[in-house]
Amino acid sequence: MKNFNNKYIFLYATALVAVVAVLLSVVATLLKPQQQNNIKNEKMQTLLAAINVSVDRDDAAQAYSQYFTTELTVGTNGEVLSVYDVPQQTLTQGETRAFDIKLKEQQVREREGKQGAFPLYVFEKDGRKGYVIPTQGNGLWGAVFANIALDADLNTIIGVTFDHESETPGLGAEITTEKFQQPFIGKQILDEQGNVVSIAVKKHADANALHEVDAISGGTMTSNGVSEMLAADLARYQAYIAQARNAETQQASKPTTSNQESEKEASNE
């Protein structure tokens, strides 16, 4: 066996690592736009899926701007922090676009007692307005996600999509199937007083009950995770939903004048 002196070994290791580092950074930089595009399109695709629009990932961006009108970010006191106009592609209020918000970061901020900002997507499909609330929580092995599409009343569920990071295939991973998601449609997230009660995922759920759906057999931990996720994340919109619904009923009962509009806005703050 050849003998290598220390200097050679040192230089060899340094050179090898340098070459590899340069190579990897070049590749990572070159592929980054493509990868981010994939992630962005996938997010649009899942938002569209929640409102029952299924598109190829490549067409997602176009369909997104067709159906979605506004992206809002909402604070837990119901205040609107930013407004992004989707067709115009401009921020009309605030600084962050709801689409770019990382839900996890905001959840952590809130847990630390800071002000969080949570996205709310407004869409219009077949002439009818609706909202999509994205949620994120923990299943058994990793994160679980859902997009909950609500009707204009901010109460009735008209579509859902679930996704997960690493739940057990055939058990917890079944949350992505039609069989699990279908029963959510028509359920309501508010009780009669307008408080968020969310949807419970549980065994032997009553199909006619408004706030529960059937859990997955063998996927109890994932089902519980989904329940907790929905309860926690939907509750954050409680204040906003209450305000929006109040505004709606006021609008319905009285003819709107510009005076009342500004009054309402003042009371919102």
């Binding site: 070994i9 060899y12 690592v17 590899v20 190579l23 592929l31 990868q35 058990l171 063998g218």
Partner: protein, 206 residues
């Protein structure tokens, strides 16, 4: 049969990395619940083993023995990161399904095993063949497992609902949840090893 062809065909049968050398079991339990990820994993591992074998074999006379494991690890890691980046950019769905397991190719015993046992002491061309052979040997077991597990666990093949199309659910057939769990993959590997050894005298221990 030429020596190099043997290097490719041996690992498919009597020197199979999974069933004979019993390496790479961990990932073969993890990614075989469905056929598609199993196939992509097999392909990725084959690419990584073949290329790392080739590179290490080219470098073998310059690598100081005292840091050879570190050098091997750097080469393997670099290749794995490359594979992962490419998957994320071009087959995003699959890369999501494989998630952490691509990164774990680095720790796949087959890769390091072939580098130490073969590439460090053989010429580049032979090493490349050895790498391809072992990658395929690993892959073939993965694909068998993926086939059986997806078919009986989920009733689909490559995502195609074959059991439903055959109308088996209507006559009372049910998917078997156990097949999807990792332990069943181990049992299946055991069955493959059993079949292989009982039909091959050379492999039987006295």
């Amino acid at each position: 049969m030429s020596k190099n062809t043997k290097l490719i065909t041996n690992p498919l049968g009597k020197n199979n990395p999974i069933t004979v050398q019993v390496l790479g079991i961990c990932s073969c339990l993890a990614v075989t619940a469905q056929l598609k990820p199993a196939f992509v994993m097999a392909l990725s591992v084959t690419v990584v083993v073949a290329l790392s074998n080739l590179i290490i074999s080219f470098l073998r006379n310059t690598i100081p023995p005292r840091i050879r494991i570190i050098v091997q690890l750097v080469v393997v890691s670099a290749l794995v990161i490359l594979v992962n980046q490419v998957l994320q950019a071009f087959v995003y769905d699959v890369s999501k399904q494989l998630s952490v397991y691509v990164g774990l190719i680095i720790t796949n015993c087959i890769v390091m095993g072939r580098l130490e046992a073969f590439a460090m002491s053989n010429k580049p061309w032979a090493s490349l063949c050895d790498g391809i052979g072992n990658g395929l040997g690993y892959g073939i077991i993965l694909i068998i497992l993926g086939f059986v597990r997806e078919l009986f666990g989920s009733g689909t093949l490559w995502g195609y609902p074959i059991m439903e199309k055959l109308g088996l659910y209507n006559i009372g057939y049910e998917n078997n949840g156990l097949v999807i769990m990792a332990p069943m993959a181990l049992i299946l590997v055991g069955i493959i090893i059993w079949i292989q050894r009982s039909s091959n005298k050379e492999l039987q221990e006295k």
